[in-house]
């Protein structure tokens, strides 16, 4: 499928109302523990997330995009994502983000496949992108790009980083982002690379009452 550019650019726009701005991709807790203090730490953290959560999101988004509304396949993908996300807090975060994107999807797409009430975010992304004339390669790219920008935007706010340094960082990560997306598209089965650090950070974060971000 020849991807339509405007809908793709719209889905990549951080101003799209999906509630994504309230998620930090785990960086809020990493900052709280002193693991990320500056752009160098942010780069380390983001690369780690790209290799694990980013790859999983890319593969899932591409698979959902290719599923062409196959209900059984989408349901199996949802379960497979649960299995590969051992942290309850991260499962909840993914479903919270998915719910937000689903709200937008229901408003804009007439005959959306049934995804339940709280599907995983990458699933909705795959399905919605397909409905908007976007192919699996681009869907995977969206999933990985938003993984990266969600983390960097939150860190920029929390650490008052120079936004130009953050923009530089994202450009420096472009190769890794593209490679992760391409790798995800190639996989016939969802990857199972976990990150126990991210799981622990997510559980700790979720239990806090004094947090700025949902996840």
């Amino acid at each position: 499928m020849q991807t339509l550019l405007s809908p793709l650019l719209l889905l990549a726009d951080s101003r799209l109302p999906t509630g994504a701005h309230a998620h930090s991709g785990g960086v809020e807790q990493a900052i709280a523990h002193g693991l990320v203090r500056d752009t160098a730490g942010l780069e380390w953290f983001t690369r780690r997330r790209l290799a694990t959560a980013g790859l999983l999101a890319a593969a899932a988004a591409a698979a959902a995009n290719r599923a062409a509304g196959d209900q059984a396949l989408l349901s199996a993908l949802d379960t497979a994502l649960d299995v590969r996300t051992p942290s309850p807090a991260l499962r909840a975060a993914s479903r919270n983000a998915g719910r937000g994107l689903l709200r937008l999807a229901r408003r804009t797409v007439a005959d959306l496949p049934d995804l339940g009430r709280r599907p995983h975010h990458s699933l909705v992304l795959g399905v919605l992108s397909s409905e908007l004339g976007i192919g699996p390669d681009a869907a995977a790219a969206l999933a990985v790009q938003s993984t990266a920008t969600g983390i960097t935007a939150a860190a920029q706010r929390l650490l008052a980083l120079d936004p130009f340094d953050v923009a530089d960082l994202l450009l420096a990560l472009a190769g890794a982002i593209d490679a992760t997306a391409a790798a995800g598209v190639q996989l016939s089965d969802l990857p199972d690379l976990g990150d126990p650090l991210a799981d622990l950070l997510a559980e700790t974060h979720h239990a806090r009452k004094d947090r700025y971000f949902v996840s």
Binding site: R15, L16, P17, T18, G19, A20, H21, A22, H23, S24, N96, R99, G100, R103, L104, A154, R157, L158, K209, D210, R211, Y212, F213, V214
Partner: protein, 222 residues
């Protein structure tokens, strides 16, 4: 001050409402202006007569929600707290998803039997205002101790809110604020749209604001 100004020409586009939906009232205003205390007063005054729920948008904590729960103005399950990721104005304005999700959760929990939802914004600056996709009417709360020039400076909240509340009038002599000036400026900037000057110290029931909310309920239900 004018309480019953009738806008013959409605300047705002309204959100698409379904039958039986609760009225959604946004309560915004700068930090410390008394939003949470006003929400608590409204819950105490209106709570007995109708099915009420609250969504709070603290910037950083669940303190506002906890305040409401501790003061038992509403049962815990009628209060939802939303995190806004360091962007309190975004969450009520250009990306209202989190707040819509919270309202949806409340409606599911109470089987759609809710008459009124109060959405309290995180304390923000004078440029913040609620999207009409999120709320039906909005109250903007400024307080006397914030300075008597605040109404004159305008801004979206002061100028275009459906109701402007000038709060803590009991503090005026202590901070050298001229209530007459504030009231006149507010009237002028708002072209006579509703303004209420009040003090929760003098009237803990916030009767004037509660009455205004009642009026809105009647207007929107007919």
């Amino acid at each position: 001050m004018s309480l019953d100004h009738d806008h013959n020409i409605d300047p705002h586009p309204h959100r698409h409402r379904r039958d039986g939906e609760p009225l959604r009232v946004g309560i915004g205003g700068p930090v410390g202006s008394g939003k949470t205390a006003l929400v608590a007063a409204l819950c105490r005054t209106l709570g007995p007569a109708m099915s009420l729920a609250v969504v709070t948008n603290d910037i950083y904590t669940t303190e506002d929600a906890d305040f409401l729960r501790r003061n038992a103005v509403l049962p815990t399950d009628r209060i939802e707290a939303v995190q806004t990721g360091c962007c309190p104005h975004t969450a009520i304005r250009e990306d209202i998803t989190s707040n819509l999700d919270a309202i949806e959760t409340l409606l599911e929990r109470f089987d759609d039997q809710i008459d009124l939802v109060l959405v309290e914004s995180g304390g923000d600056n004078l440029t913040a205002s609620f999207s009409h996709g999120l709320v039906d009417v909005q109250i903007f709360v400024v307080d006397v101790a914030g300075g008597d020039k605040v109404p004159r400076k305008g801004g979206p909240g002061v100028t275009f809110s459906d109701l402007l509340v000038i709060n803590k009038t009991d503090l005026a002599p202590l901070v050298g604020a001229d209530l007459q000036v504030m009231g006149d400026d507010a009237d002028r900037v708002r072209s006579g749209a509703p303004v209420i000057m009040m003090s929760l110290v003098e009237d803990p029931s916030a009767k004037l604001v509660a009455d205004w909310v009642h009026e809105q309920l009647h207007r929107w239900q007919s």
